[in-house]
Structure formats: C-alpha cells, structure tokens
C-alpha cells in the first residue's frame, strides 16, 4: 500500500475504473495529453488511448450535454469541468436532462455519468477558480452530490460514483489536492455513497461538515479536546441524498451541533441540515444549532480570501457559543 495525495487518489480511481469497466470514458478540457490542469488524468491517455480519454472543445455546456448522450448509449462518461467557476453553463444540461432522463422516460433511458470538478478556495487561485456551488446541485432532484475530504475517501467514493447507475456531481476540494498524503489501497473497493463518515467520536458537541472544511474542524476538535470537550466530527461526504440518521444519532447524544461549510451562508446546505435538526431533534438540543460558513459575499480574490474562509477561530467561537448553554 502506497501513500497518495488526494489528486493522486483521484487518478488511481480513474485508472482502476477504466481497467475494470471498458464503458468508462474520461473527457474534458486538457484531460488528454496534458493530463488535466491538476494532473487528475495524468497518464490515462497514454494507458487507455485517445478513444477512451479525450479532450473536448472548450465548451462546458457541451461537455455535460454530450455526456448525457454517451451515458444514454451505454458508456460511463467521467467528465471534468476544469474549475467550479466554469461549471455554471452545465446547469441547464444537469437540471433539465442528466438528473431527469430516467424519470421522464420512466426508466427507458438512464444517465450514469460523473461530472468532476475541483471546488473551493484557499489556494490563491485567480478569479472564478474558488467557488463552492454544492448547494445548487443538492437542490436538483435526481442527482447525487459527493465531496470527498481525504485521499482514501476520494478513491473509494469516486469508484462508487462511476459505478453508480445515476448522475453524480463529484466536487474535489482543490485545497486538499496536495495538502497531505495517506495510505490508499488501490484495491478497486468502493466506499458507500449516501452515507456520512464519523471522523471522530465525542459526547459534548457534534460538528457536521464536508470537503476541505473537515481539516479545520478536526483541528478545532483537537483544541476543544485540550479543554476537556469531546467533539464528534461528521463528514457528510454525500450531500445528496443526505444520510440524516447518522447526524441525528450523534446530535441526539451530544445535544449541540455546529455546521461548517465554505459556501455562502444563506441557502447553503447547512441550512437544510439545521432545518432537519429543528424538525427531528428539537427536544434533544441543548443549544441553538450554529452555522459557520462563508459570508454572503462574492468569493474574494486571494488577498482577502482568508477573511472569507471559515477559520479555526470562527469554528471554535461557534462551538463555545453552543457550550455556553448549560
């Protein structure tokens, strides 16, 4: 077993999926000879040939739309959108077609495609390269929305996404691409979709988060532990469909919940989780649910982006607000 970064784990998963299933195709901008701007597809073109790994014209709407056609004809397209800032032209195809093809044809045609895209800020990228649009996709019936938070998770969840018979939006936190390495077994074993991951147990407080924010939250949980506070950390991983039972079980035990995400606060996916806690766990709550999120501002350019990103301090402050309720 070798150590891998998250981007290497994505590459390993793509290679393994292509090896296991001849229907899997990789397409997008610069994914061929260049191996992707982040190198997610490095070596795939050489190994699997240009008919399975190919560059498309520079047209995101097309990448999503042609994937619908490829999927309907029996392929398993895994399409890359270079940055989530460029993903918006795909929305029409995702909403009106990919997510509803099965339903509108009553199962006659289906759309097993994956749309991968690096998401989020914190890497001093240019404008339009740091967005977090997961809540927009999570609002679309018929989709799955998945965000891994570690190399081994990226490997297992991407394999699961590619094998899934329905469309999956797979958002990869850019900030984690090369942030750390961990052991990743290239064994072709998928992780379960539609399930949260309990990253840490705790009986005083439940953090609910996903993507790059899991790193900040785990650091905050370490700090709380020094103060004798046991914080559970739940990594949602699959936002849609949401594994609410796992979140509920933890919050019913701790009575306190802090939801952390990088996307803007208003109508962010944290609002959905908070609403469900209000509906389903009110009597277990010892304190109001807190949300720590990006501000409702345009994603700042790099000089100010740290101000925007939820910091360990903001997360700890929210945790302490909940702990102040005895």
């Amino acid at each position: 077993m070798a150590e891998a970064t998250l981007i290497q784990a994505v590459n390993m998963a793509l290679a393994r999926a292509m090896e296991l299933d001849a229907r899997v195709l990789v397409l997008g901008e610069d994914v061929g000879v260049n191996g992707g701007v982040f190198r997610a597809t490095e070596g795939l073109s050489k190994r699997f040939g240009p008919s399975r790994v190919f560059d498309t014209p520079l047209a995101e709407l097309l990448i999503a739309g042609m994937s619908v056609g490829l999927a309907a004809e029996g392929f398993r397209p895994v399409a890359e959108i270079q940055f989530t800032g460029f993903i918006y032209p795909t929305i029409d195809q995702i909403v009106n077609h990919a997510a509803r093809l099965r339903s509108r044809t009553r199962g006659r045609l289906t759309c097993p495609m994956v749309l991968r895209s690096p998401c989020g800020g914190g890497v001093h990228a240019p404008e339009h390269h740091s967005e977090s649009p997961e809540a927009m996709f999570a609002h679309i019936p018929g989709l799955r929305v998945v965000i891994p938070s570690s190399p081994s998770q990226a490997y297992g969840l991407l394999l699961a996404a590619i094998a899934d018979p329905d469309p999956v939006i797979f958002l990869e936190p850019t900030r984690l691409y090369r942030a750390f390495r961990e052991e990743v077994a290239d064994d072709g074993v998928a992780l379960p979709l539609d399930s949260c991951f309990a990253l840490r147990e705790g009986s005083d407080l439940t953090f609910v988060t996903w993507g790059a924010m899991t790193r900040e939250v785990l650091t905050a949980a370490d700090k709380l532990a020094e103060d004798g506070v046991g914080a559970a950390v739940i990594d949602v991983a699959t936002l849609k469909p949401l594994d609410m039972p796992t979140i509920l079980a933890s919050v019913e035990k701790t009575g306190r919940c802090v939801i952390v995400h990088e996307a803007p606060l208003t109508a962010g996916f944290g609002a959905e989780i908070a609403a469900r806690l209000a509906e389903q766990a009110l009597t277990s709550l010892l304190a109001p649910v807190q949300r720590v999120a990006g501000y409702d501002t345009v994603m700042p350019l790099p000089r100010l982006e740290q101000l925007y990103m939820p910091s360990k301090e903001r997360i700890l402050a929210a945790a302490r607000r909940t702990l102040a309720f005895a």
Partner: protein, 381 residues
C-alpha cells in the same frame, strides 16, 4: 439534379476581394446549394432520384403526412375541449418529419423537438404516447417502439449536445448508425447548437442536423433570428457541409437525408440540412399568431404546403385517386379516434410513480418522503 446555388453575403462583398495589390487574398470560399424536385403545384422540376422514380414508392410517406394532419386536428380539438394540455401542432411541416424518418434506419437515433409528430410516428412512437405526453403523463416518453430514441425536447436546442454524444458513442462502438438531431430556426441561435455542431465537425461524427426553418420562433421571425443569409451556412463554420432543401417537397427532404446518412455511416462526418417551410398553425394551442403576423402571409404559404403538393403529384402520376384519399382519411381518422379513446380511458399513473423512476434504487430519505406522500394519498381518499 436541380440545384440553385446561393452565394452568401461574404463572398459578394467587395472587401473580400483581392484588390489591394496582393496584400489581401481570399483564403476561403463556400456555397450553399438548394434542392427541390417538386414545385408547389406538384410539378417535377428536376430529374427524380432513384427512390422516387416509381411514384408508388412515395405512398407510405404521403400516408404518414396525412396521418399527422389528422392527428393534429384531433389534438387541437381535444385541447380546445379541455381534454389535452398545451399542444404544438406541426401543420405545414409534415414533409420534413416524414421525409427524415423514412430515410433513417431503425437503429439510428432521433432527437426530436416538440414538433416532430410525423418523424416520431414513422419511427414507431404511438399516437397514444404523444397524447399521453401532452396530456401530462410521463408514460408518453416511454416509447414502446424506438427504445433508443430520445424523448421530446422542450428546452430549445438542448438536445443537440445529446445527439453528438450519442453519435460519438456510435463511432466509438464502430457501429454504422447515425444520430439525427431535429432543431428549429430559433434553435440555431443557441450556444447548445453551436457547441454541438463544433464537436460534430472536430470529431467527424455520424450526426445529421435537420433545421426546420419554419420562419417563426413563436413571434420572432427568421430575419430577427440571424443575419446569416442561410442557416445552412452555420455548418460551414463548424467544418462540415450544409445545404438547403425545399422542406415542403418530401422528395427533396428524403434525397438530402439519404445522402447525409450515407455519408455519416461511411465515416464521412456530419451534415446540416436546412429545410425551408412555414409554420401554418399557431406555435402552440396557447399561442395566437394573429398577434404578430398577417393572415395574408399565412394564406400565401398555404399555397405551397406539402400535403397538397404531393397529392397533386401522385394524382397526376396516376397512383392516387379521390377514392384512395377518402379511404386514407377514414383509416387515419379511425386509427386516431381509437388512440384518443384509449388515451381518455387510461387511468393515471399510481402516485408512487413520481418517486419510483428518480434513481435506480430509491435513496432512504426519498423512501421516507414516498411513504409520507402515500399516507397523504390514502387519507385524502
């Protein structure tokens, strides 16, 4: 072959000519051909292609056109009496759909707009299914006949990227099939169309774009849609041939489509056919075309409509009589009436159907919503 070659503006403009002492050269030229065999009186104006030399060979396509006209009339009446939802008739455009579909193979894939009744009927979509769709029932898109054909596409031009995706799949599998993407004049204004056409050219895909230029995108006329002299020339920029046909002359439509599909199957790549016609009816049953176009214009176009034209030709050729016509109308009416009866008698889908086709396996949280919906249904009655 009877072609009129139209020279698009660029070629005629003097600034394109080499008149600056050799510093400026013309580096590209193109032309767009126009194909027509029958004039509006049904007279043969050019040597007929092989498939049309026996006039009897045109009878199936004539029947398909008439079937659609009868269906349209019935569907409009159903809408007017509250038994069908909004419906887009294709009156005046029947030669295009019937002609295109009759030149396709069963394992080709059709990408319809919402006004392709004759093409869909020819390919085996049932009148009942079209009624169900416009009557508000998803089962209308679960075609019993052409299982790989895409469903009716309402968001304009969004089917074009699917067509090139399917064409690429055919090419990757090495299958001699083709994708046929129907689109309207308005549809060619959308990025979806340009992006799809661009890929078709770059990857030399087995795809045919048929642009039904019926002169109107709801209330916006063709001239307000594009300053290009023809819509066919949009193919030139994408690197594959485009041509015009008289879309009210089914022989021209079939001839052009046959050539394009042969090319596609022989790895020759994409083609665009701009079929000139006129939308004689309203955009849909909730549109009133009198608000934006003159009756006189519509009346004038009734003189070149495709069904009367082909009937004149078949009659003159001695293969069609008044009795044949009466029998055909009676047959079509009986068939459509039976479909309408079946449609009106069909029970709605069970309420659970709104959940049951969203995913291959219903996720747990949706199973919960499904249970709630079922309880509500039960307690309500």
């Amino acid at each position: 072959m009877h072609y009129v070659t139209r020279l698009p503006h660029a070629r005629r403009n003097t600034y394109m000519q080499n008149n600056e002492g050799g510093a400026v050269q013309t580096i590209a030229r193109f032309e767009i051909v126009y194909r027509q065999f029958l004039d509006k009186e049904g007279r043969v104006v050019a040597d007929l292609p092989a498939f049309a030399r026996d006039p009897k060979a045109l009878l199936p396509v004539y029947r398909a056109m008439v079937q659609t006209r009868v269906f349209d009339t019935k569907a409009i009446a159903l809408q007017r009496t509250g038994r069908l939802g909004t419906y887009p008739p294709c009156i005046g455009q029947e030669a295009i759909g019937a002609g295109v579909a009759s030149a396709m193979q069963p394992d080709d894939v059709l990408f319809p707009t919402y006004r392709e009744q004759p093409a869909q009927f020819w390919r085996g979509v049932k009148p009942l299914e079209i009624l169900l769709y416009w009557g508000g029932d998803e089962r209308g898109s679960d075609f019993a006949g052409p299982r790989r054909d895409f469903p009716i596409c309402v968001p304009v031009a969004t089917q074009a990227p699917h067509a090139v995706g399917v064409a690429l799949a055919m090419k990757l599998k090495g299958e001699p099939r083709a994708a046929v993407c129907m689109i309207g004049d308005g549809g060619t204004s959308k990025g979806d169309f340009y992006e799809a056409a661009n890929l078709a050219g770059v990857m030399r895909l087995p795809v045919l774009f048929v642009v039904t230029n019926n002169q109107w995108a709801i209330s916006v006329p063709r001239r307000a849609q594009s300053a290009a002299e023809t819509l066919a020339q949009k193919a030139i920029a994408a690197g594959f041939p485009g041509e015009q046909v008289d879309g009210n002359d089914v022989i021209a439509v079939v001839d052009a489509v046959q050539r394009a599909l042969e090319r596609a199957r022989a790895s020759g790549g994409a083609t665009l056919i701009e079929a000139l016609t006129y939308r004689l009816g309203d955009h849909t049953t909730v549109d009133d075309a009198k608000r934006y176009r003159e009756d006189a214009e519509v009346s004038q176009h009734w003189e070149s409509e495709p069904i009367a034209r082909l009937r004149k030709y078949l009659t003159a050729a001695g293969v069609w009589s008044k009795e044949d016509e009466e029998r055909l109308l009676a047959d079509c009416t009986a068939e459509i009436t039976a479909a309408v009866d079946q449609y009106l008698a069909m029970a709605p889908q069970p309420p659970a159907a709104i959940f049951d086709y969203l995913y291959a396996t219903l996720p747990a949280e949706l199973a919960e919503q499904r249970r709630h919906a079922m309880e509500g249904t039960n307690s309500d009655g």
